[in-house]
């Protein structure tokens, strides 16, 4: 079984400031890692994913995340945020498997609010 902890429930920042949203996970097996974004009254959109290889992955909208196996973390970062980045961000994991049917386990979510 997997679990995900997002350490900050709310992160307020000013426009053009850098931001880091923290995510730690626990799993007895190897996992794939994801960040999803949910804009108000919308569904979940994939920002980026880590499957293997380089531990720094780049996603859409200027976001990136770094996989740290020793610290079991997958923190999301953006060097300069915009008002339009205001949304809920979810970290998620799924077990690696021969077939790709594993469920996603989500964290509690982090509400990022970008203020002018």
């Amino acid at each position: 079984a997997q679990s995900v902890t997002q350490l900050d429930s709310q992160v307020p920042v000013f426009e053009e400031a850098p931001v880091e949203l923290r995510c730690n996970y626990s799993s007895s097996v190897s996992v794939y890692l994801f960040w999803y974004v949910q804009y108000p009254n919308q569904g979940l959109q994939l920002l980026l994913k880590y499957l293997s290889g380089s531990t720094l992955v780049k996603g859409i909208n200027g976001f990136e995340a770094e996989f740290n196996k020793s610290q079991t973390s997958f923190h999301l970062r953006k060097p300069s945020v915009h008002i339009s980045d205001t949304a809920e961000y979810f970290c998620a994991v799924t077990a690696r498997a021969e077939t790709s049917g594993s469920r996603l386990t989500f964290g509690e979510g982090t509400q990022l609010t970008v203020n002018p």
Binding site: Y32, Y36, G43, L44, F90, S100, G101, R103, L104, F106
Partner: protein
């Protein structure tokens, strides 16, 4: 770009009534999922479906819930007798079965309100 579509976007039902939430997954995907998100809480897994049968379900997915793929394109979630605590946003997702297809694509969700 292919997408997962869900209908209706919002449904209000009386407690004890049956509801069916509908989803059209991406056409060449073979894994299908339902998740729910109670207001202000995290997204929770309900059930996964593959090869016309449930492959995994959570403890939330009790006898009141059922899923079906009736016609090869739709994927439905039925709640037999709704309770107030079933009020939530329900998300459908689908994923390809190829080894490289690790991403689940989500629909826009159906907001279910039980009154």
């Amino acid at each position: 770009e292919p997408e997962v579509t869900q209908t209706p976007s919002h449904q209000v039902t009386q407690m004890g009534q049956e509801v069916i939430l509908r989803c059209v997954p991406i056409s060449n995907h073979l894994y299908f999922y339902w998740y729910r998100q109670i207001l202000g809480q995290k997204v929770e897994f309900l059930v996964s479906f593959y090869n016309n049968e449930i492959s995994e379900k959570s403890e939330i997915f009790d006898d009141q819930f059922s899923v079906e793929r009736p016609d090869g394109s739709n994927f439905t979630l039925k709640i037999r007798s709704t309770k107030l605590e079933d009020s939530a946003m329900y998300f459908c997702a689908s994923r390809g079965v190829d080894r490289g297809n690790t991403e689940a694509f989500f629909g826009q969700g159906t907001r279910l309100t039980v009154v």
